[in-house]
Subunit: 447 residues, 2 copies
């Protein structure tokens, strides 16, 4: 959205041109309005929000940031609060409530109608990362013996409550899912066709307690707009919509990326997190990694006499450590991403190791020859050049081996492989690099 719209709205606000404002806002998409609210001063939000038509207001509300939502709720009268929440889809309402402080939650639940309150409480009861917590109960269910005509009538009757009508689900007398039907099939069929004859009988669904990351992956795999959710008895209890699945995928990726950089992941966005909280998310890993810096230092200290005797040895420490660290980071990143996209599975363990060692051989020979020649020419010392070249072969191979095995071992132990990423591996590799280097150097120089 161009920033110009925000400027226009601010100017209209200053000039108190409320009826023009209402017109401008009505032409805008809810996502753009929600984004605009982030750029505008907090004082103006309640006024602007009240200018929105009822539907648009609820849709916009669902897309706003948590703190703006809270600001609005605190300013709402009870009837305004009820009006907005009655218009929301239950999954959005549940998402919002989950983020609010307890006193706000109490006020919201007091002001929603009993049916919705019951459903919201049900959704809130599912574990935070489960399919149940992200589903909506606003879906259309049909019966196998209905005709297409009856089905369309039923859809028309219940449609206004449903979040999507793209796919209808067919359930039997026990509410068990028996098939699904796209609107496309429905529109293509004759009015008297029986639903059970035209429905897609291959039932793919997830369970309320399934991890929501897996739900998103399955929806992506099957290209589903909605995914049905069944309870422990196999009864259809809700659906997950594609927009929520995309959000989950993005959150999980952000979490992975943050973990890979040794940051404790949070759900809040960058600017919504306080400096103290940012620091807290980063300090723990820094301390752990520093400890291992101490270990590498300890190893170096053991060889103090070596570089006291031949000081030039110390000048190659950064080169070797960073090469090892970078190779390890490359391997671990490829493996972690490959596993999160399901391209690499645990049973590929040996295949991955062979691949990485193969790559390591190619890379290490190039790097060893290149750096060896460079050192020989610039330093004129063949012995040092040989030590560095040999060390590089050893360091690159070990680094890629560690870089590919640790994430897979983490997964084997049901840990998040991303925790084993660059920083941790770099630090382990650092110690290994120094050991290999001084082992080879001490052989060559009889230290």
């Amino acid at each position: 959205m161009p920033a110009v719209i925000t400027d226009t709205i601010e100017t209209l606000l200053e000039k108190k041109k409320y009826s023009s404002l209402r017109d401008v806002l009505s032409t805008m998409n809810e996502a753009d309005i929600a984004a605009m609210f982030e750029d505008i001063s907090d004082d103006s939000i309640p006024l602007l929000f009240r200018l929105l038509p009822k539907d648009l207001a609820a849709d916009t509300f669902a897309l706003m940031q948590t703190d703006s939502q809270e600001l609005l709720i605190r300013g709402f009268s009870d009837s305004e609060l009820k009006e907005v929440f009655d218009e929301l889809y239950v999954d959005d309402a549940a998402d919002i409530i989950e983020e609010m402080p307890a006193n706000v939650v109490k006020r919201i639940l007091k002001n929603t109608d009993p049916d919705m309150r019951r459903v919201i409480n049900e959704i809130l009861n599912y574990p935070e990362d489960s399919a149940g917590s992200m589903m909506t109960t606003d879906y259309i269910s049909l019966r196998p013996m209905m005709t297409v005509n009856e089905a369309i009538k039923r859809i028309r009757r219940t449609i206004s409550e449903a979040e999507t009508v793209y796919i209808c689900y067919v359930t039997d007398d026990n509410r068990k899912l028996t098939g699904s039907l796209s609107v496309k099939t429905l529109l293509l069929s004759a009015p008297d066709d029986k639903i059970c004859d035209i429905m897609d009988k291959s039932v793919i669904c997830v369970h309320t307690h399934d991890d929501k990351e897996n739900v998103a992956k399955d929806m992506n795999k099957y290209d589903f707009v909605t995914m049905p959710v069944a309870d422990d008895e196999g009864r259809l209890v809700g659906i997950v919509t594609f927009d929520d699945a995309i959000d989950v995928m993005q959150d999980e990726t952000t979490e992975d990326i943050e973990r890979m950089a040794a940051i404790n992941p949070t759900e809040e966005s960058y600017f919504k997190t306080s400096d103290i909280k940012h620091a807290r998310n980063r300090i723990l890993w820094l301390l752990i990694l520093m400890l291992s810096g101490v270990i590498t230092g300890g190893i170096l200290k053991k060889y103090e006499s070596a570089y006291a005797a031949i000081p030039i040895l110390a000048t190659f420490i950064p080169l070797l450590m960073s090469t090892g660290g970078n190779c390890g980071a490359q391997s671990s990143t490829m493996i972690i991403r490959g596993m999160s996209l399901d391209e690499i599975r645990l049973r590929d363990f040996l295949r991955v190791i062979f691949t990485e060692v193969g790559i390591a051989l190619i890379i290490s020979v190039i790097l060893a020859v290149g750096s060896g020649l460079w050192i020989w020419i610039t330093e004129g010392d063949l012995k040092i050049a040989a030590v560095i070249s040999l060390s590089i072969v050893g360091i690159v191979t070990i680094s890629q081996f560690i870089g590919c095995t640790l994430p897979m071992l983490a997964k084997r132990c049901s840990l998040d492989p991303a925790v084993m990423a660059a920083p941790l591996i770099t630090t382990i590799v650092d110690a290994a690099s120094v050991l290999i280097y001084f082992f080879i150097a001490s052989k060559f120089f009889n230290l």
Copy 2:
């Protein structure tokens, strides 16, 4: 999909139970069949594929890996080839053709009907990363003056060609997009309602030459199932479907993650890439980063006399370098991810710097006090402890400053911020760390 299904199919194949195989395959989802083809021997694929019902065969074909598709195409008769491609949606067909070698492309285009050939050629003509290259031309367009009844009739007539019917687009006499309409609205309206009265008039569309990453971001922002694509004259020429948008988002994220680990991104999956190619994707950055290891080494060499005189100074190099590198990696990762999610924009430049320096102060004080005390206790040398503590404050601050500014400057110069990630920043930070350390040390020890 449980591996058991693959075992069952292999057993049925061995026993030549083709009619049972056909039954088993018919109950499976196309995505599962495509995944199963990856696990089974190449020789069995053509036979199994020919057992699939026609629709399912085309759907499965669209989801298969490129090399399996090529294997099948090479084995197809001309009529089989035509049969499969006639059933495909044009965007899928164009995607497949894009990956094939020239002689296969020629054979495919010879065997598709002229209409489809024209459309495929059009899509293939758009730049690789553009909205045009990922769109499909199979969509339903309505006219503003139609009634709901007429619209439904038109939908029924054209629906079998359309990839999705969830959203219909309304165009005027010049094929300009004037509104959109969900099936939900259509089903809720009276048969005589005019389309122009019930359609959503806020037109949000992308252009054929827009970057496909931005298309995916917009679809996510607006929660769109489909996004209309207009040409330079504003005429509707196609739509992008959500499943393709999700794939683009995932590919872009993988690219980011690989770049952040100093790997040249490829489109192929891990095991489809040869060792040589893997090595080629990694070696360039390793060489560049090694060069900067040489620079850090050069700086170290300048201080050779310092650690020859006080060898214990060298043992803290790994600790300081890794702390700097990790802090820089944390900052750059937060900024790069924030920018790719549009949470951080270029105009937030100063705000980001203030935030990161604020965080750096908190973190550096904790790390400095911790490590200072530790060194004082274990080494019993207050002077060394002071040097390390002071160095840490300087190094952490500089690292986070470099870590947050470089990705933003890269974006300012229209480069991918991910290129400025951990490895490059670590290496720059390494040099800075060594300089700061020996500068402080030389002041304290009068070196």
